[in-house]
Amino acid sequence: MTLNRKSPRGNPLLFIQGNEACVYGAIHAGCNFFAGYPITPSTEITEGMSVNLPGIGGTFMQMEDEIASIAAIIGASAAGAVSMTATSGPGFSLMQENIGYAYMVQLPIVIINVQRGGPSTGLPTMLSQADTMQARWGTHGDYTAIVLTASSVQEAYNVTIRAFQIADRFSTPVIVLLDELIGHMREKVELTMINNKNPVRRKLPEVPPEWYFPYKNTLDMVSHPAPFGEGFRYNITGLIHDKAGFPSSVEHEVINRMEFLRNKIMQHCQEIWDYREFYTEDAKYLIIAYGSAARAARGAIETLRNMRIKGGLIELKTVWPFPYLPISKIAEKAKSKIIFVAENNMGQLVHPVNEIFSNSVKVFNINRFDGHAIDPYEIVDMVKENIYA
């Protein structure tokens, strides 16, 4: 729905769902290929792409399943497309093998997972953040994931654009983890990138084909395999491979490939990490959350502050790689006494937090897994209970 208004910057203002915001974000980022399979609560993204892509010269396909969907977007990416898919729990599970494939062959793709309750069919129409760990560890083998998230409809738009930019920057799959609440609620959105002058476009190598090695170690540690059909004939394989893309099990090449894939992400964490702070400077009681849980936490902190309890929030925009450095710095500076991790699952995000603080600071987990959003008062009560304990 249009608000029929423009922002002061002259951008359109819309009143739409988070899922619809993802569609605008994808189109404005430069997405020109979508393949997907309908699943609640992400279907509006698939439907929105089917409306928008044909008219702008892109491709939309509804595939026979989610395995085919992710295979098609990786294939399209090999051919130079800026591609994405969207799904929820059961479909996300089906995609795992090929997420690892895209990572191994270094082809950029974007996967939006609007989380529902699980396991299995779970709670199709209800809220959950229970794929937090699956997004990190879902595919088999050693793997370094980039996972971004959002806690409002505006952010769903922004994060989708960012996901495409980061996928292209690091030539790797990027997962956007939303939850059902963010996907389905309606809020005001400013389409800030509607006239994007720099849509994501795949790079061509700067060397002639005879010198070209698709997987050579580059100065900035990122390789960008050339799109098919541009004269750079090479091999893509999910087997461990050498710089030319040929399978290899030579020890040093295996180690080199595995480290390269990890380092290209881990050495650029500062570029990837994104988070927001609320009242953290003096936060004796620090809450860590993302998505809809972070919305509840913001409310809780207002209440706590009114009670003169020094609560603060780090709201994650990057879930993985986990922003351990900024979090530990903020907690140290604020001399935080207790850390609370609020999440809509039985305890997942709490694990990396525990890893940071091991025994130095107490960590409590605030969980809700009945398909409903966390209530700010649950957080307030939990904080009060534990600080006076």
Partner: protein, 281 residues
């Protein structure tokens, strides 16, 4: 005939040989046939995307000087679909084992055929899972022994050609490694055909299938292919009983009908030009 040096120029042969395949395996002959078909059709190497799944057959792309992609088990067709849809001007060729294309990838197979997307599908039918060491495939004949059918197979096999045709594929042929020249002709026709084009090639796996079923050497297995082959025309006059265990060869279907990627382009153009249906977005 093709000069050997011409064929060699299509191989990444300085880098990748000797190949992984066992001595006597039919996959090498099929690779040669594909190269010869492409030489005859004079398609530039840069215009070919050559995609495989996983298996002995799946190892073919690495040897060939095209845009090559060795994907995941069973998924070559949806990967190829993505490539074809983004670059419709490319010739997209998929090679796939019988397990790859009909078991784990069976759903993708019928849907690619249903869409009639312009992909050439070379299905290497060796009646077995070669790479994993000889387990039953959806093409293993009843009674044959495999490592997971130690008492003889009791599952009826697929007929890949019939499957492709009934799902909507517009070209389907079957050849053998023994009659490799004839098979090369089918491959050529399939590559030229605008639509989903299947060439099923009966191949020998002497090391797994042959050994477990006492079929002798690769040479013996090739002679069996010769003995059992019946051209489609002759087969029409034979009874079902007489056809039992026979390999019917020839072109089963060749029809021009709406091709998916060009249909999509036309539809998208109509939407861009505003000449699409009234209710289109």
């Amino acid at each position: 005939m093709h000069e050997l040096s011409d064929v060699y120029s299509y191989l990444r042969w300085k880098k990748r040989f000797p190949a992984v395949w066992c001595p006597g395996c039919g996959i090498g002959s099929i690779m040669g046939a594909i190269i010869r078909a492409i030489i005859d059709l004079e398609i530039p190497k840069d215009d070919i995307a050559f995609i495989s799944g996983i298996g002995c057959t799946g190892r073919m792309p690495v040897y060939l000087d095209f845009n090559t992609m060795h994907t995941t088990h069973g998924r070559a067709l949806p990967f190829a679909t993505g490539i074809k849809m983004h670059r419709p001007e490319m010739k997209v060729i998929v090679v796939s084992g019988d397990g790859d294309s009909l078991a784990i990838g069976g759903n993708h197979f019928i849907h690619a055929a249903r869409r009639n997307i312009d992909i050439t599908m070379i299905l290497v039918n060796n009646s077995i899972y070669g790479m994993t060491g000889g387990q039953v495939a959806p093409t293993t004949p009843i009674g044959k022994v495999t490592h997971t059918m130690p008492y003889g197979n009791y599952e009826p096999p697929f007929n890949p050609v019939e499957l492709a045709v009934s799902a909507g594929g517009s070209f389907a042929a079957r050849g053998t490694v023994f009659s490799i020249l004839q098979t090369t002709g089918y491959i050529k026709k399939a590559i030229k055909h605008p639509g989903f084009a299947l060439v099923e090639i009966i191949s020998q796996c002497p090391v797994q299938y042959g050994r477990m079923n006492n079929l002798g050497s690769a040479r013996d297995m090739l002679l069996m292919q010769k003995k059992n082959s019946v051209p489609i025309k002759k087969a029409k006059e034979m009874s079902e009983e007489d056809l039992d265990g026979k390999i019917i060869t020839g072109i089963f279907k060749e029809e021009i009908k709406t091709e998916y990627s060009s249909a999509y382009r036309n539809f998208a153009k109509e939407i861009r030009d505003g000449t699409g249906r009234e209710d289109s977005p």
